[in-house]
Amino acid sequence: MRILLWAECQKIRRSKIVWITIFATLMLASIVFIGGLDQYKGPEVHYGLKTVCDGARYIDNAGWYMDEAQPWATFFVLPSVIALLGSYMICREEEEDTLKSLRLIPINEGKLTLAKMIITFVFSILLYLLLFSITFLTEVILHSTNLSAELVISALKEYLLDGVGVFLAISPIIAFTSRLKKYWLALVVTEIYCVAGMFAAMSNVLKKLYPITAVFNLSGYHITTIRNRMGSILILLLCSCLAALILNGLNHNKKKKNRVR
């Protein structure tokens, strides 16, 4: 397994996809920053450790940038990028005709798929940590005195769990598109799946049941009860079980095909 993980890391290093996803994350962070230059007008908002004051630019509120980049990234950009990466990694062996060579070694295809999923999982966490680093450094530059350690640690925890949760939430899509061998589909389906999360967030029931919004319950971005949080964790675990079932089917299909040949 360790060799498979090492091989996947080597393959991903050679591919441009890592740089492109880093570029997407940087662009996302800068776009949210530009959005924060707008002035907030309305009653003062207090949510957990975060505050938004009337008459000030959003970005001038300590913690706003670290806080706000999370939902924008999760509803619009990062899950799609992660899903694309995951399904690309699984599909490319067949598309680039390297699967035959791998079978000749021979390699356990189940373990190979698992290694790819583990790399996607790590990549998901790293992308969120990269976004956290960008937002944190910007916050340090903008309001070094107002930034409390408690706020930073809670944001770090949220980002870390966002990375974990987003991978679990999109894992069925990665598995399904890999089974269909249409990695294009991963991007479109995940984007719609995430945008629909904004509507799901309007309902109190769907908020904890819909996987994308369940991610925020898991991370603590949404302040909620322990019961709701447990419900969300259960939903995300069910998503990962579904992905495992689909991927298991994928490997069985391959074995059947091999026997026929």
Partner: protein, 245 residues
């Protein structure tokens, strides 16, 4: 040129995924139906329903992403099977090749928005959320056609990026960032981004409730923004295609 366009459409028949993506036009009308059903509202202003089903996320996120993927797929087809060399030998003009792809995106975009318009009417009138008014339906159709036509031009920069790349990962990721930035820049300066400029053109009559603009409406500026981005995109794609062997 007409032969090229015809060939592009004939090639599309083989791609089931393209037809599947057309079904995403039903998502926002359906979500709008669920939204109004959840809040139990009846006798909604038609424009309020259509704002959610056709002018909101459809305009800013879903249509740009679907068109971006279509552009990437169309440009990658020849690369994948190494057909470009043969096309240059025929010879096919490089701009003709690009414009034939653009024409497919153009027709696809209009079809997408027409399906959205029809679905919006069906999902609003049949469950009884909106009264049947021909005036508002015609207005919806007009706006959907405007969005369909303009979206194709707005996505020309993505087509140019797809033309300059052999892979699909960069155009796909740029599509995401491009759509997202258009959405955010709408509240900062709409004249910087083609998607936000297109949104300004769509709401130029100020007939969509709940839309507050932070800058003055200047439609020529919005067209200028789209025009500049398109000219730059065409120039860059021309250079990129000429460099390709």
């Amino acid at each position: 040129m007409l032969n090229l366009i015809q060939t592009e459409f004939l090639k599309l028949r083989r791609r089931k995924f393209v037809w599947f993506m057309l079904s995403t036009s039903l998502i926002m009308p359906f979500l709008a139906l669920l939204y109004f059903n959840y809040f139990g509202k009846k006798d909604i202003e038609p424009m309020q329903f259509y704002k959610m089903s056709a002018y909101g996320f459809t305009l800013f996120i879903i249509l740009p992403i679907v068109l971006g993927m279509l552009c990437t797929m169309l440009m990658r087809e020849e690369n994948q099977y190494d057909m470009l060399k043969q096309l240059w030998i025929v010879p096919v003009s490089k701009m003709g090749y690009l414009l034939s792809k653009f024409f497919v995106v153009f027709v696809y975009s209009i079809c997408f928005m027409l399906i959205t318009a029809v679905a919006s009417v069906i999902f609003s009138v049949i469950p009884g959320y909106v009264a049947l008014e021909w005036g508002s339906i015609l207005n919806l159709l007009e706006k959907c056609i405007i969005i369909g036509v303009l979206s194709a031009f707005v996505m020309l920069p993505i087509l140019a990026i797809a033309a300059s790349q052999k892979g699909y990962i960069l155009p796909a990721c740029v599509t995401l960032v491009y759509a997202f930035s258009g959405f955010i820049l709408m509240s900062i300066n709409a004249y910087l981004h083609p998607i936000s400029s297109m949104a300004l053109i769509v709401i130029c009559n100020n007939d969509i409730p709940g839309v507050v603009l932070k800058q003055e409406m200047n439609i020529p500026f919005a067209f200028l923004c789209i025009g500049i981005w398109d000219i730059v995109a065409l120039l860059l794609s021309n250079i990129a295609l000429k460099r390709r062997k």
